[in-house]
Every structure is written in structure tokens, then in C-alpha cells.
């Protein structure tokens, strides 16, 4: 039995001790945001935040996240009440298929929380671990820039 704190709430989970956090979130907490993409930490579709860092939830054993604050895209807002970054992604229409988007938002969230005024170069480097195949990068970049420019801390 492990305890996971996800989006501010504690959950007791009876799961295999080697289960990666991704499967605990998706199948045992019914959270859709984090996606399976590669299982190897190469694409970022599974990105969530643990503490103040973006992590690949497909690699991190759920047990290792126990006792830490796990945040997923569901914790930032909802379709009806989107959070700051989510709203910027909607305004920029920054999605095509959207499979990568929850991971993109969580990685961007970590940057905005950590760096006061990141440069374009810093944004590109920070976002490099996350892949998008539709080529929506330019809009994702614009959405992140819009939030930074607004000065609103999400």
C-alpha cells in the first residue's frame, strides 16, 4: 500500500511496488492527462510535476513519488475553468491532435514557476524533452510566451 499525494489530495493505493507513476495516475486514479508515449523518457507525453520539477511519470516508480506533491494537468484547471496556461493554450489554439499537450503544459508550468523571465532560447531548451509530431510547437511556444508576458504566475 502506498500513499500518493496528487493535486493536493492523498490517495491510498494497493498497487505493485514497481508500477511507474504513469499507470498509477491513469488506471488507479482515473487521470487522463499524463499519456503513455514511449516508456523511455524520450518524448515527454507523460510529464507531470513532482515537487517543483517536471518528471517523466513513465519512468518514475510510483513508490518514489510517495510523500511528495504530484501535480498533473488536471490540477491546473478544467475545461470549464481553465488555469492560466490552459487558457493561453486555448487562446492560441495550441493543439492539433493534442496527445502531447498535457505533458507540454506541465513542463511549461515548471519553467514558469522556476524562472522569472525566461528568454526564447531558455524556453526552447527547457521544452526540448517533449515531442510533438503535428508540428504545433510554434503555437505551444506562443502560448508559453503569452503567459510569461502577462506576468501572471499560474
Amino acid at each position: 500500500m502506498i500513499t500518493l499525494n496528487v493535486n493536493g489530495k492523498d490517495h491510498q493505493l494497493d498497487i505493485d511496488p514497481d508500477m511507474p507513476l504513469l499507470y498509477a495516475l491513469r488506471n488507479h486514479l482515473q487521470l487522463n492527462g499524463a499519456k503513455y508515449g514511449c516508456g523511455l523518457g524520450q518524448c515527454g507525453a507523460c510529464t507531470v510535476m513532482v515537487g517543483d520539477k517536471p518528471v517523466f511519470s513513465c519512468l518514475l516508480p510510483a513508490e518514489a513519488a510517495s510523500g511528495k506533491a504530484v501535480r498533473t494537468v488536471e490540477g491546473l484547471g478544467s475545461a470549464e475553468k481553465p488555469g492560466t496556461l490552459q487558457k493561453a493554450f486555448i487562446e492560441q489554439q495550441a493543439a492539433q491532435c493534442g496527445y502531447c499537450i498535457a505533458g507540454m503544459i506541465m513542463r511549461a508550468q515548471a519553467l514558469i514557476e522556476e524562472v522569472a523571465n525566461p528568454s526564447d532560447e531558455q524556453i526552447r531548451e527547457h521544452m526540448a524533452p517533449n515531442l510533438c509530431r503535428c508540428g504545433t510547437h510554434l503555437r505551444i511556444f506562443s502560448a508559453i510566451k503569452a503567459v510569461i508576458a502577462s506576468g501572471v504566475k499560474p
Binding site: N27, G33, Q96, L131
Partner: protein, 749 residues
């Protein structure tokens, strides 16, 4: 492998069977044009009404598209699916515009074999042309029938009536809702050839950017994808694949797997293996155990990637003449010869393919991110020996596919596994390495040009030979579903047949749109190939446009004319000229490259020579030490006919620029005799944020009242070609082997 070739007459090519290749098109009366839509009416659909516009040709009944009743209000159906390009929203805009209702008032359903029309595949930038045109007309005709019904009931002239927000208004303040008006109207009737006109300048939805319906859920963790489905009591499955095609299962310790925690069953049928478990992670662990324990025979040989372009000329093939006109052998005073090559590419969906299937009370339901629910249903029914009526395929979005990826095969997997677990819903997802090793690739190709120029700077002849494997291994039988190869009673794929011109297959866009009197173009279509290949965005157009536009730049040099000017002096199509002139102006052409290592490049194509126009200019610089290619600026102009949603179009064009840059600069499937090495993203690198173009400008040329031409694939070829031309200026040397800038490339040139 031996050489065996036969020359095939054009009339025997794919999908001409219906004898209705070229059809009249009229979106609004008077705006007719000739079109071929072989990708659609041939893949499981049948032309019933050749005179009707768009997909009304294959689904002529109005109530196949629109139903109105008390229970559900207004329901609009499309046989197309959302692949991430935004068509769900764009199609809804078209229907709402012509019904004269708010988009929110419509219940809009996409492909489902139990409910929607059969529109074959959602592919080839065809959706707006096929389904958009059908809805554009069907919705206007239904609205007209409602007006006439109200006019009859009120004994008022139709001209005195108007509609607003699903209500018909008449004289004396009378009104009735559409639901009331539909009483006494038979919508189960053939559509008419002509629809009530509406001037394009009075559109309130078409031509306006409606925010996409799907994005709010996608940015907030809503259940948006088949991967997110959870059904009561759902089990999880994983497949265990052979090491390569042709490998047969020798043995596996079934008991060792079935005794693992949570594992319910090892499904085994010949060389087909899958594990079913209560929990997904348990299924993955059992799958890994399966890979460890299964022993396989060697399988088919795989060539070395360095030899593939020679091999393409030696494998069994059929030769297709594409063009033969004028005097292609007459000597020309100036000319250019080239050989351009392309390696196998992957679709590279970020989410590996997934499907949920449930066999319950004799009915198999398959939720799938396929591009074509109807052809898939037929394939699955044949594979399982079930009557078609006992299989239902419902589209649910998946990760973007960009063509024929693992979607259909994963659906077949889910179906096979669900049949072994009657009564239980089963979710199956492929692992990353399974997607990379088993998805159908985009064909490796070889294109040879021999082009001549006269003394006045006009094209004199255009000769091309191209070699390709298939680009259209869609599901026309059970054997086109890869899992069916592995069964104890295996199915063989139907013979490969290329998509006919003018759409083309490997020969898509091989015919230049430029004015040239003499030309001979042949395609060698390789039918026996080391890898399964099928449709990926733009098919052969990616390399063919690259080859054509490289040659145009070389010929411009010989003619001593600026490359943009050279294109214009050999091109009479006014819409083509307009996109070229637009880009030249916006880019401030002619412009000198910034200095050593910098280059600018220009390119143009009209997709398939019958669809959207795209011109593009690229400025880049190359860091010779590191090999980094930095794209400083991209300027493009597109004309896709009547624009439905400007922002959606922009999104597609921007995406095409980035995706094509990735294909053209970096991508190739790595393999050698030992097998495919590109089983993950480190073995198949694609573009990442740091390599993005620094600046992208998209100019849209609207054509109110003209046909919808589709957008998603128009940029792929021109972007590749403009990159090639810019690289060539930057290096002072023309690169002709794609990809252009794969790791270490600068040491190889």
C-alpha cells in the same frame, strides 16, 4: 530477388473500377470544376449518384447526413473522422452555416459503422472537399425543404419566409421550429444536383475562425482519446510480436506467463501472441516475460539501408507510364539531370496505437482511431469469419496518425483478443517499439530527372523515372491487417495497386504544373519489398516536389534568371502565380543570403496538381562545425479555395512546415541485415523545440465561392524543396539524398 517487370496500362490502375474517375464539381451553381477523388470512392465506397457534389456521390440520401426529430433535435453526420486537423469543427461550421443554426444547436456525429455515412478514408486532404462539400449542399437543401414545409402549412410563399437559429419565420409574426417544420418532410430522398445559393459575403460561420471544440478537454485531462476509455470490468492486453516479418513462433512457456500476478490468459493462435491481465502494468510485465520466453524462427531477410536505392531498381515491379507527350528525346540546348533519393520514414505518432474491443451477445464493438471505420470493419469481419453485421467500428480520436500507421492493426489486435475473452471489454495499446517496428513505413524512393531548357528560358522537356514501393496498402482485405499474418490460418495481403493519377501514389505530384510541351514520365512500382509501406501525408509528393523544385533552381541558373522569375515565366495557372507573387512580395524577394553558410530557397507546388496551392520561401544558416541547420525565416502563401476556418488553416500550414522540416532534415528508418534499429526516439530522432524555425509567416488567399480544396498536406512538398534550395545556396553544393541534415551529415559531404 529477380527482376520482373511488366508495363501496365493506365486504365488498369487502382480504383478506376467505378468508371467515374472524373466528376463534375459544383459547390455553388456555376462554380464547377473537374475533380478526381479516387482515394475515397474506391476504398469501400460506391458511387451511386455521379452528378452530385462531394460525398453525396457515394451517400446521396439527405438523411444520411442530417436528421431532425423531437428526441435529438438536429443531428448532423459525417463519415470522416477527427485526426487532429480540426475538421470536426470545420465541418460543423459548414453544416451550421447552411442550416442557418448555431453550431451548438447541432449534435454532430463522426464515423461509426452503425450510424454514419460510409465515406471511406479520412485521408489525402480530402475531408473538406468530400464531406464539407456534401454538408454544404445537404444542409442547404434540408433547410430549403423545411422552408417549403412551413410555407405549405401557412399557405405563404417560400420567398416570404426566413430562418434564424433553427426557427422558420413567416409573415404576420408566425414562426415554427425546425423540429416542427420537419413534420411531413421526407428527408430520406436523394439530394438534388443544385443547392439554394448563398452569397459568400453573407457567411457568418464559413470564413470565420471558430475555436476548436476539442481543445478545452485536451488541455485539461478530459477523456479525449481511445487511450482514455474505461469500460466497466475492462481488461488490459499487450501483444508479443515476432522479431521481424516472416518469423514463426517455435515455442513459448505458456504456464510461466499465465501464473504471473494478474495475468488472465496468454492468447495464442499460430504465431499470434497476446497477454490479457486485470491491470495494464501487469499486462506489460507479462508481455516482457513473453518476449523473454518466446523462441522464433529467423524470418525474412532485411537489406542494408545503404543499398536500398539500388535494390529498388532490381526488385519485382510493374512499370506505369504516367506521361508521354511531344518530343521528349529531342536535344535541348540546356539541361539538368539529377538523382534524388529518400529513405523509409515513420509516421511517428506520439501515442502508440490503441483500441478497445468488446464481444458481447454476438456483437463485436471496436473503438478505434482508424482513418476508415468501414474498410476496417470489413477487414476485421473477414479475419474473424463474422458477418459484417456483427461487427461495429466506432471512431474515437487517437494520437495524430498522418496516414496509415498502426491504428488498423491495433484494432485487429483488440478484436482478436476480445474474441478470446467473450463478454469482457479489452483495451490494447502497442508499446513504442511495437509501433516503430510494425507500423507501415513511408516508402523509400528514387527519382531521376532529365530536364531540358530552350534558349529563350522556357522548359523544353521534362523526363522523369521514379521507383517506389506502395503508398496505399489500406484495408481492402483481412490480409492487409498485419496481425492476420500471424494466425494459424494466416491471411495474405491483397496485391498492391497504386492510386491512379491525377491523385497519384509514389507518382503524386511527379508531373510538374509548369508549362512544358514534351514530357515522358514513368513510375516503376515495386511490388515485393523488404518492408510494408503505406500512406503517409503527401505520399510521393514530398520527394517529387523536392526533385522538381531543385531542378527549377538549377535551370534558373542556366537561364540566367532569378528563380522566382524563372518559375513565373514557365507557369500560366493564375492561382499558382498568385501564391508565388504573394510570397515573393512578403519575403522581399530577391534577397541576398546573409553571408557564408546562409541560404535562401523558394519552392512551389499545387498539391496533386488539382488541390491546394502553396508557395514558400525559407532563409536558413548552417553551422559547418556542428552541422546545425538554423531556420531563420519561413514565409508561405496558400490558396485552398474557399477558406472555412482561417485559424484552423493556419494551424495546419504551420504544422506542415515544422513536420516537413523534420522529415526533410533529420528522418530515416535505420536498418541493416540485423534488423530495424529505429525502435525508439533515439533511433528515430525527429525535430525538437531548439531546431524550430525562428519566424514563420503564413499568408492566406481566400477564394470565396470556390471549392474547398483541403489543407493538411499541401505544405509537405514545398517546404522540403525550399529547404533543399536554401541548403544548396548555403553550402554551394546541391544535396540530393534525403534526409539532408542527419547527425554527422556535415562530415559526409
Amino acid at each position: 530477388m529477380s527482376r520482373s517487370q511488366e508495363t501496365v496500362d493506365q486504365s488498369r490502375r487502382a480504383f478506376l473500377i467505378n468508371g467515374a474517375l472524373v466528376v463534375g464539381f459544383a459547390m455553388v451553381p456555376g462554380a464547377g470544376r473537374a475533380f478526381a477523388d479516387t482515394e475515397v470512392d474506391t476504398l469501400g465506397t460506391q458511387v451511386l449518384a455521379p452528378d452530385l457534389p462531394g460525398s453525396l456521390r457515394t451517400n446521396p440520401f439527405l438523411d444520411a447526413w442530417i436528421r431532425i426529430d423531437e428526441k435529438d433535435g438536429i443531428t448532423v453526420y459525417t463519415g470522416k473522422v477527427e485526426l487532429g486537423t480540426g475538421v470536426r469543427t470545420a465541418l460543423l461550421q459548414v453544416a451550421a452555416e447552411r442550416l442557418d443554426v448555431a453550431p451548438q444547436a447541432i449534435r454532430f456525429l463522426t464515423a461509426d459503422t452503425a450510424l454514419t455515412p460510409n465515406e471511406g478514408y479520412t485521408a489525402g486532404s480530402h475531408t473538406m472537399f468530400d464531406s464539407g462539400t456534401a454538408l454544404f449542399n445537404a444542409a442547404a437543401q434540408v433547410r430549403q425543404l423545411l422552408l417549403e414545409s412551413a410555407a405549405r402549412q401557412w399557405a405563404q410563399p417560400v420567398e416570404a419566409l426566413s430562418t434564424r437559429d433553427a426557427v422558420v419565420h413567416g409573415r404576420d409574426g408566425r414562426s415554427m421550429t425546425y423540429v416542427q417544420a420537419v413534420a411531413g418532410v421526407q428527408l430520406h430522398r436523394y439530394a438534388s444536383k443544385d443547392s439554394p445559393p448563398k452569397p459568400a459575403d453573407s457567411f457568418t460561420l464559413i470564413g470565420h475562425s471558430l475555436p476548436r471544440l476539442d481543445i478545452p478537454a485536451k488541455v485539461s485531462g478530459g477523456a479525449s482519446y481511445v487511450q482514455d476509455m474505461r469500460l466497466p470490468g475492462m481488461l488490459h492486453a499487450r501483444v508479443i510480436r515476432p522479431p521481424r516479418r516472416g518469423s514463426r513462433l517455435l515455442d513459448i512457456d505458456q504456464a510461466a506467463i499465465e501464473q504471473m500476478s494478474g495475468v488472465i490468459k496468454l492468447v495464442r493462435d499460430g504465431s499470434y501472441l497476446a497477454v490479457v491481465a486485470e491491470d495494464e502494468w501487469q499486462a506489460i510485465k507479462a508481455m516482457r516475460k513473453g518476449y523473454e520466453l518466446a523462441r522464433w524462427s529467423d524470418g525474412d531477410p532485411i537489406p542494408d539501408s545503404r543499398d536500398i536505392h539500388q535494390l529498388l531498381t532490381e526488385l519485382p515491379a510493374r512499370r506505369y507510364p504516367i506521361t508521354n507527350k511531344g518530343t521528349p528525346d529531342a536535344p535541348a540546348p540546356h539541361g539538368w539531370k539529377s538523382r534524388v533519393t529518400k529513405q523509409y520514414l515513420m509516421h511517428g505518432s506520439i501515442g502508440p496505437s490503441c483500441s478497445v474491443a468488446w464481444f458481447k451477445e454476438g456483437l463485436l464493438t471496436v473503438w478505434t482511431h482508424t482513418q476508415g471505420v468501414y474498410p476496417l470493419r470489413a477487414g476485421i469481419a473477414e479475419m474473424l469469419g463474422l458477418p459484417m453485421a456483427q461487427v461495429r467500428c466506432i471512431h474515437v480520436e487517437g494520437s495524430g496518425c498522418y496516414g496509415h500507421n498502426g491504428a488498423d492493426d491495433a484494432a485487429a489486435d483488440a478484436a482478436l483478443i476480445a474474441m478470446a475473452m467473450p463478454g469482457k471489454p479489452v483495451r490494447l495499446q502497442w508499446m513504442r517499439e511495437q509501433e516503430n517496428l510494425w507500423e507501415p513505413y513511408s516508402s523509400a524512393m528514387r527519382v531521376e530527372l532529365d530536364v531540358g531548357l530552350d534558349d529563350s528560358g522556357r522548359l523544353q522537356r521534362w523526363n522523369t523515372e521514379l521507383w517506389t514501393t506502395p503508398h496505399n496498402e489500406r484495408i481492402v482485405n483481412a490480409g492487409r491487417l498485419m496481425p492476420a499474418w500471424l494466425l494459424a490460418r494466416p491471411f495474405a495481403p491483397a496485391p498492391s495497386v497504386p492510386i491512379a493519377q491525377p491523385e497519384g501514389d509514389g507518382d503524386r505530384n511527379v508531373v510538374p504544373l509548369y508549362d512544358v510541351a514534351s514530357s515522358r514520365i514513368n513510375m516503376t512500382f515495386v511490388t515485393q519489398m523488404p518492408f510494408r509501406t503505406s500512406a503517409m501525408r503527401s505520399l510521393g509528393a514530398h520527394i517529387n516536389v523536392f526533385a522538381i523544385e531543385s531542378a527549377m533552381d538549377q535551370l534558373a541558373v542556366q537561364a540566367g534568371v532569378d528563380p522566382v522569375q524563372f518559375r513565373l515565366q514557365n507557369l500560366s495557372d493564375p492561382r499558382a502565380r498568385a501564391v508565388i507573387e504573394k510570397v515573393a512580395k512578403a519575403f522581399n524577394w530577391p534577397q541576398k543570403a546573409a553571408g557564408p553558410g546562409s541560404g535562401i530557397g523558394f519552392a512551389f507546388a499545387r498539391y496533386k496538381n488539382i488541390m491546394g496551392y502553396c508557395a514558400i520561401a525559407v532563409q536558413l544558416h548552417v553551422q559547418r562545425q556542428t552541422g546545425d541547420v538554423i531556420i531563420d525565416r519561413v514565409v508561405t502563401a496558400v490558396d485552398v479555395g474557399q477558406i472555412v476556418t482561417p485559424d484552423g488553416l493556419r494551424n495546419q500550414v504551420e504544422g506542415g512546415i515544422v513536420q516537413s522540416a523534420s522529415w526533410t532534415l533529420y528522418e530515416q528508418v535505420d536498418y541493416d541485415a540485423g534488423g530495424v534499429r529505429s525502435y525508439d526516439w533515439s533511433g528515430y530522432p525527429i525535430i525538437r523545440f531548439p531546431a524550430l524555425p525562428k519566424q514563420v509567416e503564413v499568408h492566406l488567399i481566400d477564394q470565396p465561392g470556390q471549392a474547398f480544396l483541403g489543407a493538411a498536406e499541401i505544405v509537405q512538398g514545398p517546404m522540403a524543396a525550399a529547404l533543399g534550395n536554401a541548403m544548396s545556396e548555403a553550402l554551394g553544393k546541391r544535396l540530393q539524398a534525403l534526409p539532408l541534415a542527419r547527425k554527422g551529415w556535415q562530415q559526409r559531404i
